[in-house]
């Protein structure tokens, strides 16, 4: 092997490791073992691809990396695919939020979906909590209509901690228990569906076949 070959080999190795390092960082948060395997598999792929004509060359590595796309895009695909696959197995909001958090750090689309999902889950949890707390705070928990100036009013969902508002009235009474529970569960389920739908749309818009 000549010195030039040596330098070439080192360059090839460096650009491959730089790419894989970037990918690994973008996959952070994913199960460690899974992320490690993804990186190992792609390392093996790049080597095979770059050595197709015998020697691993810098240009071969560059071509292999170009064919894979940017590490950010690739990580986005892994994370959203992972989310969809896991969502098929379990629809736990915690799992979905976890995956959305990772995806949000990679793309604007992910960030927006995370934001929407957080609002949805938050409202759902508030309704469920009000329903659950009604038996502990019978006089204060519930949906309150509070006067706001002459002919305006605010609707406020209160968990019932602290004293009852001086003005205004609680509208649902004990009905908040079934209604709050149903509305809360519905919100949580709809939010999960919304998140999965968004991820599917995103995946449809990406991953375009070459050629």
């Amino acid at each position: 092997m000549t010195m030039a070959d040596d330098v070439q080999q080192r360059d090839a190795q460096q650009s491959m490791e730089a790419y894989l390092g970037r990918l690994r960082r973008r996959l952070r948060g994913m199960n460690d073992e899974d992320a490690r395997e993804i990186v190992e598999e792609l390392r093996s792929h790049i080597r095979d691809k770059a050595a197709a004509s015998g020697q691993v060359t810098a240009s071969g590595v560059d071509a292999a990396l170009a064919a894979l796309g940017s590490p950010e895009e690739l990580a986005s695909q892994y994370l959203t695919d992972d989310l969809l696959a896991r969502a098929e197995v379990s629809r736990s909001p915690v799992r979905i939020l976890e995956s959305l958090f990772r995806w949000a750090s990679l793309s604007v689309a992910g960030f927006l979906v995370l934001l929407g999902s957080m609002v949805g889950y938050f409202l759902g949890v508030v309704f469920i909590l009000v329903a659950a707390l009604k038996s502990f705070h019978p006089r204060t928990a519930g949906v309150w209509v509070l006067p706001n100036g002459a002919d305006d009013f605010n609707i406020s969902v209160r968990l019932g901690f602290g004293s009852a508002p001086l003005e205004g009235r609680e509208v649902l009474g004990w009905w908040i228990m079934p209604i709050g529970l149903a509305a809360g569960c519905a919100l949580v389920m709809l939010t999960t569906r919304f998140a999965i739908w968004c991820v599917r749309q995103y995946r449809k818009s990406r991953a375009l076949p070459r050629g």
Binding site: E40, H45, D81, L84, R86, A207
Partner: protein, 124 residues
């Protein structure tokens, strides 16, 4: 509003992309029917046996999704190239899914073929 020819072409292109993408999962399962393969072999088989030329960045994440779904399993095997390769093989659930999808595909394409037959004659 009338569609311009350029937009028309775009619509056709998009349709083709969706069509190919929809077949990708079946194509991968079918490629593995004969036995285990590693990622690059699957890619090469897709390219040589079908028109499904897809980006590599699509196939690897899809393989990992198929694995989470339990349709394929994987193992690392040492190679003569000096590094290990990740081989994929169908699980029983994957075989079942492949057969189901192949059945649907065959029925669908034969009925589409009948429908499309007059178009072929018109072209000649």
């Amino acid at each position: 509003m009338k569609a311009t020819p350029a937009r028309d072409q775009e619509t056709v292109d998009k349709w083709e992309v969706q069509l190919r993408k929809g077949c990708l999962e079946l194509a991968i399962l079918a490629a593995l029917w004969e036995g285990k393969l590693y990622g690059l072999e699957i890619l090469r088989q897709l390219e040589s046996d079908s028109d499904l030329i897809v980006s590599e960045g699509t196939v690897y994440p899809l393989l990992s999704r198929l694995k989470v779904l339990g349709l394929v399993k994987s193992e690392w095997v040492e190679s003569e190239a000096g590094h290990p390769r990740k081989y994929y093989a169908l699980t029983p659930a994957g075989k079942k899914r492949a057969l189901e999808m192949a059945g649907i595909w065959t029925r669908f394409s034969s009925s589409m073929g009948k429908l499309l037959a007059p178009l072929g004659k018109g072209n000649k």
